[in-house]
């Protein structure tokens, strides 16, 4: 495989990690969602690029899904939810931005270390990709656990899932990728609708996940 294609794939994957860091940095919902949209766009590009270099045409579908669904539909939906709920104020971050960034850096190094232990026989592109994907996943989780707000948790989860898609597409000739990405989109739709439903049914006065938890069935 020529160096150029390799580098481009790298560039895209790396920038995905970078964008994940940007997400960590955001402390406003709108900004977060926008950054996520960007994340999705870049993902779509990298998937498309993979489709091109592996000439695996079904991957274009995945790319399309990523572009349409994640980069457009979901962000718009989330925007509307936030409008409805009127919570376009700050995200209540559970942990300060600084520590979060540090943790993020630690996670990235961790994933690098782990993946570099992999013997080089494995396809180098796949190997590097995996390292990036793993860091994106961990960063996504980090977003989920450092944010109090359900919307931002959804965003975190989606970025995590982007990492998955990146890994899946990076794996040469992996079957079921499209199906999986579809399945995941449905899953995310469920989650978003769930957040939405809870609001509409007036069941919880905010989508602060804490409010979902005040009943434990055994509250004394």
């Amino acid at each position: 495989m020529s160096g150029l294609t390799f580098d481009i794939a790298h560039l895209l994957a790396g920038s995905l990690v970078l964008i994940s860091f940007m997400m960590l940095y955001q402390d406003r919902l709108f900004a977060l969602i926008n950054v996520f949209a960007l994340h999705a766009v870049v993902l779509a590009l990298s998937v498309a690029w993979q489709a091109y270099i592996q000439d695996a045409h079904h991957l274009y579908i995945t790319a399309g899904i990523a572009l349409v669904f994640k980069a457009i539909v979901i962000p718009v939906g989330l925007h509307r939810i936030i409008q409805r709920l009127g919570i376009h104020r700050d995200i209540e971050t559970a942990v300060g931005i600084g520590p979060t960034m540090l943790a993020g850096i630690g996670l990235v190094t961790l994933s690098m270390v782990l993946m570099l232990r992999v013997t080089p026989e494995a396809d180098p592109l796949a190997r590097e990709d995996l390292a990036f994907a793993l860091s994106i996943i961990l960063l996504g989780l980090l977003v989920m656990v450092t944010r109090r707000n359900a919307v931002s948790q959804v965003v975190g989860f989606m970025s995590l899932e982007n990492g998955l898609v990146l890994a899946a597409t990076g794996a040469k000739g992996m079957p079921l990728v499209v199906e999986i990405s579809v399945a995941f989109s449905i899953l995310i739709a469920f989650i978003v609708i769930g957040v939405f439903l809870f609001r509409i049914r007036e069941r919880f006065d905010s989508v602060d996940v804490g409010a979902l938890d005040d009943y434990r069935g055994e509250r004394r």
Binding site: L107, V145, R216, E218, R219
Partner: protein
Amino acid sequence: MISTVALLLCGPAALLGTAILAAAASRHAAATRLVYGAALVISAALLVTVAGHLAGNPGEVSAITLPLGLPWTGARFRLDGLSAFFLVVVNLGGAITSLYGLGYGRHESAPHRVLPFYPAFLAGMNLVVLANDAFSFLLSWEFMSLASWALVMAHHRDEANRRAGTIYLVMASFGTMALLLAFGLLAGPAGTYAFDAMRTAHPDRFAAGAVLVLMLLGAGSKAGLVPLHAWLPLAHPAAPSHVSALMSGIMTKVAIYGFIRVVFDLLGEPAWWSGIAVLLIGGVTAVLGILHALMEKDLKRLLAYSTIENIGVIFASLGLALAFKANAMPSAAALAFTAALFHVLNHSFFKSLLFFGAGAVLSATGERDMEKLGGLIHRLPVTSFVFLVGCVSISALPPFNGFASEWLVFQAILLSPELPQWGLKVIVPAVGGMLALSAALAAACFVKAFGITFLGRARSAAVERAHEVDRWSLAAMAVLATFCLLAGILPGFVIDGLSPVTLSLIGDRMPVQMAEPWLSIVPIAESRSSYNGLLVFVFIAISASLAAFFIHRFASHALRRGIAWGCGFADAVPAAQYTAVSFAQPIRRVFGGFAFRARETVEMPAPGALEPARLKVDMHDVTWEIFYQPITGAIDFATERLNHLQFLTIRRYLTLVFLYLVILLLVLALWP
């Protein structure tokens, strides 16, 4: 020709069948009579079979393997000298208890909670004694616990009984776990769970030590060794009286069987220090048990505590046997071991008898609290007489059986200076002193038990209404009383009967006793020590009747009834009598200080003030406070802390997952 053990297995099978039928028809009127009748017949049949086996060829071993239980081991059963002896104990007890139950069971308020489990309990005990592989053993063992637990919970509406049942089953499964670990060690990683395989494979010294400790924990918790006895005085009295008799008189013996089977049979040659451990625990158990019994005022709990004392005596002489065996003194070991088994038999007799008596009192008056009894000797003449026999026997007074076995124990102790190890030289006499002390205290305890319950004047109206109990119960008690006397005046028969067991486990036996003149027993040599219960009995009988004869021949026969001397006050109220607590007061002042941290506080009113003076005694169950409260406290603490994890937010739970993931990945990253 069907083998003996196969024949014997039909017994438990039949008992289980009875249990199932009882579960089906327990509410039927005739169920009580049928179930106890069936149990009686089956136990008697088993007894006859075993007796035939012993009479025929006691040394012979018959084994069988059924395609049940653990797949690659199968359910193995085996009949040898030891199991034969304990089968006698179990089924003799079972038969007589069933006889008693025929009468006592009629008063049962909730027969449907007793009848199904009673035969199951008997079956469980029989199976434990017959089992020949670890799995069948533990299965039967725990089944036995379970059945007895159900019986303890028979009167479940009483909060105390529920608590007793819970503590009992928890302790039981603790014991089972200990046994499980012991068997795990004996079986080894390959998992050879058959006893025959364990016999041949000798564990190394540490493993052997661990097994001994685990057996002390496992079998000891069931037998009621201090400090594992906490459940016993709660659970035994909670059950219906005939079941209490089974639990105290028989089940504890099954526990002892387990201990003997593993430590004397499977474990091979013991280490000398194992003797020390068992001796010490036995001695302490004996003293503490009987002291607790002295402080009790609930008749059945008193009996339960005295069970603990007797278990202590048995374990002490087992420890002695271990020490002798470890030092290759087979004849001495045989003496100590015989003493232990003899006491097992005796205790099963008089403890069942006493519990039957307590049950009779309970059904006649509805009272277990001695402070509300008294004067029953006038109301229940027969019961009081047999109960008296039981008291004399358990107090180790000649010529009854309790004395015979304790005499053997003392003879064994007197052989121990030959032991080489210094540790034993120091421990053994101390334990001897403890046993002597516990024997004396036992006498005091049963003076109290009989005196407060049956003598004096009635302390409550319930006693006035009491009537003698039914024939079945009386018959059962009379049989046991006869056994107590017979085993006391003819100990030679029992000792010779035990010789196959000692031969198989110790490799030696006591000299043949039946050959001795005048049926006296001679452990070592006549010049050294000998005892002839029969002759002592005859002498006492003759001299007493001589005295009576002369009196009635020459002295006056005049007799006048009058009121008792009340220090000038005419007929004091019954409440003025000594109560159980006040009777125990002098002994409490002597021993209570260290055993119960007992404190007495007296509030004297000012001179001339009219309010009464108050004497307040507060006592502590020291073992409970030392061993059990910390555990419960720790569990409370832990649960309280951990319980917060039930009340976290989703984000926190996610954080847990996240952290766990990161930790695992770090581990992996640092993996060499």
